[in-house]
Amino acid sequence: MTVSSNWVGEGKDPLLRHSPDGDILAHIIQLLHQRVSLGLFTMFMKIEAHRGEFLNEKADRWADEGREDAYSIQWDGPSSHPTFSWTDARVEHKCSMNKTLRTRVHLKVAELQVPLHKSYASEFLNREKNGKDLLGKHWQDKTVPDRSKRRLLQSIGHQLPCAKHLKLWGLRDSDECRLCKCLHPEETPWTESLGHIQAQCPALRKSRIAVHHSIWRVLLTAISRNFVETHDDGERKWYFLSAVSEATHDEWAVRQILVHLDLFSGIRNLIDDVFTFHARQNIVLTSHEITSFYSPAAGSPMELRSTPRSNIVSFWNLPAQWTR
């Protein structure tokens, strides 16, 4: 009675989908509806089972006969609920509709829909094994602010309200980068696109370097915690210099690397070595260029200060004596 009350009147769940005996109950409820519509009186009585009650015993006997009856096959057979099956990693799964399956169906439909579109967003989403499986995880991360998620969605869908898109949508007259125009009026402004903001905008160069170093530190720290290779004497095989702390995560000029590797035997020798090295490749450098090469100054053509040297230094395969 408690279970069937879910479908009396409006009911909690008129679909009977959560009831294990939904098929049987559907018939019983239909019969009750017929009796109510005919104005017949129906009374339910709870009878203690297996106590010799006449009607209870009779109901048991009818149930036994019903099981042997050909008509009752429908009760033992599969229900009319649709059953779905799919193969994942060579394992076949079967289930009726539930939340997990619904999500899987939506995902599959989206996957089938994406190739039909020809846009930057679909081109990006169509790249296989390119880390986009993690976008969903990031999207579901409750610690990520909603505005960040919105910006991510805008970035993926090429809907970020940058000047390029605003001009495309007729909301701005110019697509010039507003920041470049303010800070570098002497230069021809770039087009303000997502790529420009994150990769090229000279005004944000400092931010990009900070972000680069931060990600780099995270990566190095994670690798240094998870690598397992050791030398024969048990010493760790890899040594991550810049993963130790923020202070040591600095940019290393070639000279610093050479000093660290014990390849530096005086500045005069280094100049000679660099000169000889380039001469072997038919490259002739001036003394200033040689100095810039191994120990660059800010703004030099090599731009060594703006690029991390740590990815050269950090992955040296140091012999055991160096790690002691």
């Binding site: 930057y120 990006f124 094994k129 390119n130 880390g131 986009k132 993690l134 976008l135 995880k137 990031h138 991360d141 610690t143 505005r147 960040s148 910006r151 991510l152 970035s155 309200p161 507003r178 920041l179 303010c182 800070l183 790529g195 903001i197 994150q198 990769a199 005004a203 944000l204 400092k206 931010s207 990009r208 900070a210 972000v211 680069h212 170093h213 931060s214 990600i215 780099w216 995270v218 990566l219 994670a222 690798i223 998870n226 690598f227 397992v228 095989k237 890899w238 923020e246 070639v254 690397i257 590797l261 014990d262 390849l263 070595d273 660099v274 090295f277 990815n311 050269i312 992955f315 395969n317």
Partner: protein
């Protein structure tokens, strides 16, 4: 590693890796040359871990390079991949925020040391958008 999105010109990550190889190639060659000259055992190599802002990360290539660096456990490699992408997405968002702050308030924000502090700290503690801006203008 870079926090840059793909550009309109094609696969940004591939172009960036070529650029890195070209930029660092001469230095690696020099170090190996000096190592040989001085009779040292060094063998310098370089591995790129390029990631785009939209988490465009070549999964197999990335994990292979981790494997070369001694991370032999596949679960650990995947964990590092997830961590890297997550961090990239979070920090890329900071650049977008900072850009918005700069164009809405003052371009000088772009030159401030705030990005360094943000990149080196827990981002949620700063809440730069609420702190320094007001109206979002759709960002």
């Amino acid at each position: 590693m870079d926090s840059v999105t793909s550009s309109d010109e094609g696969d940004w990550a591939e172009l960036k890796e070529l650029e890195k190889n070209e930029r660092y190639g001469m230095y690696i060659y020099l170090i190996n040359y000096l190592s040989a000259c001085h009779g040292r055992p060094w063998n310098c190599t370089k591995d790129n871990f390029t990631v785009g802002a939209r988490s465009s990360l070549k999964k197999i290539q990335f994990q292979d390079r981790l494997c070369l660096l001694g991370v032999t456990n596949s679960k650990a490699r995947d964990k590092i991949r997830v961590l890297t992408v997550s961090k990239t997405l979070a920090l890329s968002d900071i650049i977008l925020k900072l850009f918005n702050v700069s164009i809405l308030r003052s371009p000088e924000w772009a030159l401030s040391s705030l990005p360094t502090k943000l990149a080196n700290s827990q981002m949620s503690a700063f809440k730069p958008f609420k702190k320094f801006t007001g109206h979002s203008m759709g960002w």
